[in-house]
């Protein structure tokens, strides 16, 4: 295992040496049990203020109607679905880190998985607002659910939009279950460490009374692995289905088989960028550099590089399809709209943000330069937003020039979008204050003392990565 990992960064550990079982737990639990840092109040207050923009945006939308947004005919989908896809894509890195990297025995995932899973949940919460708000009459949202009703009308199950309802709600639920499963032993640790009786009681209830019995751990590891195994195809299905929202339509620029894989890669790309964007300031603020080391940032940069290349390949495919299809509408979409149309500049910005700039990540010096990496991660976040914008703007010019139109977001579109950052930020700050942000029991598994020698098993500590978690699955 160790040999297959990159030789270049083998010298950087995933956890700095010198930690024992109790010091790992102490350090992580201290954030929850200790006093609230002043910076937290400042950060939370700022996020909470921004959250009010969401409140204002949605209130005005409900009062006045969908016309306050820039959507029109032919561009019936605007900021709402751009931001929906953007947020939900960000969420996917959390599942990738917690589930897929677990199955691949990538031990470096351990210190960032809790954090990334929280990011998933909050990103999905932000994403979920958009389709609901876009209904115009969100109080009828239950029309989407398969409920018996007096009109004897059931959902249209042949529609990708209906599949989306199932995919996104399943995704949100399973992500929550996965997150909570991981938290149970850590809540127990806080319960045992807390001095205040009420803190003890609250975390005691949250831990469900967990006492770490060997058989309980056995079932627990089984559950954890099964949830990882279930989440892996789930996360792929979610963005595949999101891409079906576009690809199943007959519209030029959308009706492409490359969409599902290219959407999934883009989701992981943007998600990892968001994890880097969040992890860099958080590890500095909470002094977690021993747990979230440069090795993590380096690995995440490599994932961004790979998924970025996949996405770039997707852009190439789109252009090639337009050319090779010999279909005048596909070619027209690309030449008259996407690349050289009214919003052509954004297409080229997108190529710059997602295709060109991430190539810097080939350089080790860039991957290990925290400031540069942070800036690149923000550029990728912007690039991935532009990607969804560019895809959506295919609606502007379709088959008949007489039906062409143009889209521009309104003040309320932008307010609502900014507001979702407030929601995301507020939830993130609450998470960091009240929930252990790093999985302590999994971190304990990273130090060599956690492993036992079974009979006839003497390869010992050097291979502990392969023993890690669920060797008994």
């Amino acid at each position: 295992m160790a040999a297959t990992q990159t030789a270049l960064t083998d010298d950087i550990p995933v956890i700095n040496p010198g930690y024992k079982f109790d010091t790992i737990g102490e350090k992580i639990d201290a954030v929850v049990l200790g006093p609230t840092p002043k910076g937290w109040f400042v950060g939370f207050a700022m996020a909470f203020v921004v959250l009010q923009a969401l409140l204002a945006g949605l209130t005005w939308l409900l009062y006045e109607g969908i016309g306050v947004w820039g959507v029109n005919i032919p561009v019936g989908w605007g900021f709402d679905i751009i931001n929906f896809v953007w947020w939900i894509g960000i969420g996917h890195a959390g599942t990738l880190i917690s589930a897929i990297l677990l199955l691949f025995h990538q031990q470096w995932r351990t210190s960032i998985n809790r954090f990334a899973e929280a990011m998933t949940l909050f990103a999905v919460a932000c994403a979920g607002i958009y389709p609901l708000a876009h209904m115009g009459r969100p109080w009828f949202f239950y029309y989407l659910l398969p409920l018996p009703n007096t009109m004897q009308l059931w959902p249209q199950f042949r529609s990708p939009l209906m599949w989306d309802v199932f995919a996104v709600s399943t995704y949100a639920t399973v992500s929550l279950l996965f997150w909570y499963t991981g938290l149970i032993p850590d809540f127990a640790s806080i319960r045992d460490r807390a001095k205040n009786i009420w803190v003890k009681r609250v975390y005691g209830i949250l831990s469900l009374g967990w006492r770490g019995a060997a058989m309980h751990w056995h079932r627990y590891e089984n559950t954890y692995l099964m949830l990882a195994g279930l989440s892996t195809p789930l996360v792929l299905s979610v963005h595949t289905i999101v891409s079906f929202d576009f690809a199943v339509g007959n519209l030029p620029g959308w009706h492409a088989t490359i969409f599902p894989p290219y959407f999934v890669a883009g989701a992981v790309f943007s998600g990892f960028a968001m994890v880097v964007t969040l992890a860099v300031p958080v590890r500095a603020a909470y002094g977690m550099k021993d747990f979230i080391t440069d090795k993590h940032l380096d690995n995440m940069a490599k994932v961004m590089l790979v998924t970025g290349l996949m996405v770039f390949y997707g852009y190439g495919c789109e252009a090639f399809f337009a050319y090779y299809s010999a279909n005048e509408y596909e070619q027209g979409l690309f030449m008259l709209n996407r690349a050289f149309g009214p919003y052509g500049i954004y297409y080229w910005l997108l190529i710059l943000c997602n295709g060109i700039i991430p190539q810097l990540l080939w350089l080790r010096s860039v991957r290990l330069n925290v400031t540069l990496l942070f800036i690149i991660s923000i550029i990728i976040n912007i690039g991935m937003w532009l990607e969804r914008f560019v895809i959506l703007m295919a609606l502007q010019r379709d088959f008949i020039p007489s039906s062409w139109g143009q889209y521009a977001p309104t003040f309320w579109d932008i307010t609502t979008y900014i507001g979702t950052f407030g929601l995301f930020g507020s939830l993130m700050f609450l998470f960091m204050r009240f929930v252990p942000m790093i999985s302590a029991f999994e971190m304990k598994h990273l130090i060599p003392e956690s492993h036992v020698h079974h009979h006839g098993d003497d390869h010992g500590h050097s291979s502990h990565g392969t023993h890690h978690e669920g060797a008994h699955a």
Binding site: S159, L208, M226, H472
Partner: protein
């Protein structure tokens, strides 16, 4: 061993260990000694400890598989029956004898003709089937684990022992419970002391 009456209100004897290796070896020794009402405790999963104590492999994966099948079945019939599939179109699937029942049920539903596609357009039903399979499996995995483990259980006699607070931090424990047929207050304590623990203490009920 003698059948001396246990001290009233004793849950068991708790031996404390400092390392994973120590608790693992001790668990093997306890199992070989013939104790059956034993449990080991650790702050994180220790490989093979459950086997060392003498537990059987969990059948949770079977439950999860059944949960997944249930999800798939529910999603298939939910869509097939409500999308307005006419009993005739289901005949290859369901024996004609059931048709009357489903026919009556379906007559209450508005049948949606979408672009002239068949009412029983099963390939389009696959994504929700897939999602509900995952959803039901995940619920079974978490709640199955919690139920089999007996959670939620906010209080447990072990929490009466002050030393057990470190079971979630950095100490490893083996508890031989008083209900074990071979449990004997003195003899069991002597046996546990022989395993070189940091301490052996009582767990009051």
């Amino acid at each position: 061993m003698s059948t001396k009456t246990e001290k009233p209100g004793l849950f068991g004897l708790l031996a404390e260990f400092e390392t994973t290796q120590a608790v693992f070896d001790a668990a093997n020794a306890v199992r070989k000694e013939g104790f059956t009402k034993v449990e080991a405790y650790s702050p994180f999963p220790v490989e093979g400890l459950w086997e060392a104590v003498g537990h059987k492999r969990t059948w949770l994966p079977v439950l999860v598989f059944i949960g997944g099948l249930t999800g798939a079945t529910c999603a298939f019939f939910l869509q097939t029956l409500t999308a307005g599939a006419h009993p005739d179109s289901l005949d290859p699937l369901i024996d004609g004898t059931v048709s009357t029942l489903t026919g009556n049920m379906l007559s209450f539903n508005y049948r949606m003709n979408i672009a002239g596609r068949p009412f029983f357009s099963w390939p389009a039903f696959i994504p929700p089937i897939f999602e509900l399979t995952i959803l039901f499996s995940a619920f079974t995995a978490l709640f199955g684990m919690l139920i089999l483990n007996g959670y939620p259980l906010p209080h447990h006699p072990l929490f009466n022992n002050k030393k057990f607070e470190r079971a979630s931090s950095d100490r490893f424990f083996i508890c031989i419970e008083a209900t074990d047929p071979t449990f004997d207050r003195e003899a069991t304590e002597r046996f546990l002391q022989g395993l070189k623990p940091l301490s052996v203490t009582e767990v009051p009920l």
